[in-house]
Amino acid sequence: MLTIKNLYSTIDSKQILRGLNLEVKPGEVHAIMGPNGSGKSTLASVLAGREEYEVTDGEIAFNGKNLLELAPEDRAREGIFLAFQYPVEIPGVSNINFLKAALNEIRNYQGKEQISAKDFLKLVNEKSKLVELDGQLTNRSVNEGFSGGEKKRNEIFQMAMLEPKLAILDETDSGLDIDALRIVANGVNAMRSPERSFIVITHYQRLLDYIVPDFVHVLYKGRIVKSGSKELALDLEAKGYDWIKEEEVTQ
């Protein structure tokens, strides 16, 4: 589904990603962990198409298409969804109107007809229940005045509405209380399917207790330096990153 080969990326001429490789197959859940500043959010931004990040080398294929040639909106329409680490507040843009417009543009791209107002509302009801998002919030301006946790829940609500093929969750667990963490994780699990893949960026094993990954990767200094099964996350939780950093130095 997603193949990243030898990816190099800079921002403001600062080298962040340095030869990153990753292969995600349909239905898989990949967890990406790694120290602060190692490039996890950069990877997410590059995948979503943020223009400030320049790709200087490497390639990304998504379902056979060259992702790097696509505008951010076309990536979303092809089925990529990024749940932001820091969701943006957009005063005056109604959450629900924006989502309806986005959904319809995606459907249009995919050759499907526009969703009726009635079906849309049904979908909103169903999906906001899934993440137990207060109905009031769906009607407000995008993320405006939302608490940290509410913003994260809103991201997952939007993901559920848009039903992507590949969802990238960038630290969706940070800022969530224990109940919210379970709710969000259940929401994600409810969406797992043999066709849908996830890249879950997190610092904590805790989330992976709920969303059990098929693979765990460690991103360090812009490369994936270690990959393993879900047990790797437990090792990291216990030992931290120092041993990996040392391994890197000795290599």
Binding site: P72, R77, F98, A101
Partner: protein
Amino acid sequence: METIATSTKEQLLYSLETSIVSSIDHLHPEISASAKETLKALEFPSTRQEEWKYSRTTRISSESWEVRKSSATYDISSFRIKDIDADEIVFINGFFCPDLSTVRNNGAISVLPFSQLDGQLKQQALNNIGSETSRHNSFFTALNTAYCTDGIFFFVQKNTVVHRPIHFLFLQEGERTLAMPRISGIVGSGSKMHIVTSYGSLDQKKAWNNAVIEITIEQNASLTFDKVQLEGDQNFSIINEFFRQHKDSRFSISTLTVDGGWVRNNLNIFLDGTHCESHLNGFYLPRGNQHIDNHTLVDHLLPHCESNELYKGVIYDRGKAVFNGKVFVRPDAQKTNAYQNNANIMMSDDATVNTKPELEIYADDVKCSHGTTTGRFDESALFYLRARGLGEESARKMLSSAFIGEVLNKVDNQFVRMYVQDILTTRGLWV
């Protein structure tokens, strides 16, 4: 240079002198005579004057204009506001058109053309006209006084709630017509009313509109005023507005400039009583080569008043916007709260905006603030929307709708809001 400017002014005045008798003459010929004296002394405004620095009037002064009653019949339905149930007063080319208007006079409210004023109403109109504008020696206001094409006076008795809004439509047709309509009115003490004014072109031909609106808001009265500007790319529009507020009155005005080739709004508000409240909102969206200039004055004359001003602009293509916001706090006006904000979004590299707040504060115990911002859209907001599948165009449209939506949402009357929203939508400016 000097001689050309003088001769253009004189040519204009000469042609007006020979073609029109000011409709104010019916009230008292002295008023227009004195305005003519004023005009003799004043220069035709040019960019040499601070007040006109950014708005070139040479395109007006170099043209020859004609005052002409319309004989054509036009369908004006697109200028009527759906479902609003307003009394409509239609002017075409600056002349009141009774056949197209619905004026329902009753004991509580009188609405009459200047030419039909009599007795006490005539006296009231005379006072209103004399009192407001004689204090302002501006060229274009004096020009309207001297050569007013047609005027309406309205008077609301005290303690009256006027349920039906009054909608004044100022339309123009024909090549190079000059319209100089005037509305003069008094909202009696304790009364409440809603006025809508809209401006438009019937045939997109070159036209010049020089209107004067002067309204006195008496003690404890409340006036909501919406102004919808829809003129064509060939229009020159100068709108001179004067609102005088007395004790405990409330006034709210929204200036929604959707379209207009060359627009200059001179909005003057005088807080001439204690405990007045005044709200000024506006948006402007110059596109193509449009030039939209808003000059506002909020004059705090007495203590304990509050004014709140918010103007927002989205400037496209080679559009130009000018905002000049004067706030005066006079020595007597202690305990004044005056806020002003002007925000602009530039949609192209060729767009320009000149914004200048001018606060002059002569009292010490006051709270005043102002702010201006000019910039582009927040890139991270744009990216957020696009990352959810919205195309760049729709994402920008959504952000600009939200931006001016803050102003539009302050318009109380839902039918006016819908009317403007629909027009913005057909212009591709609203989602």
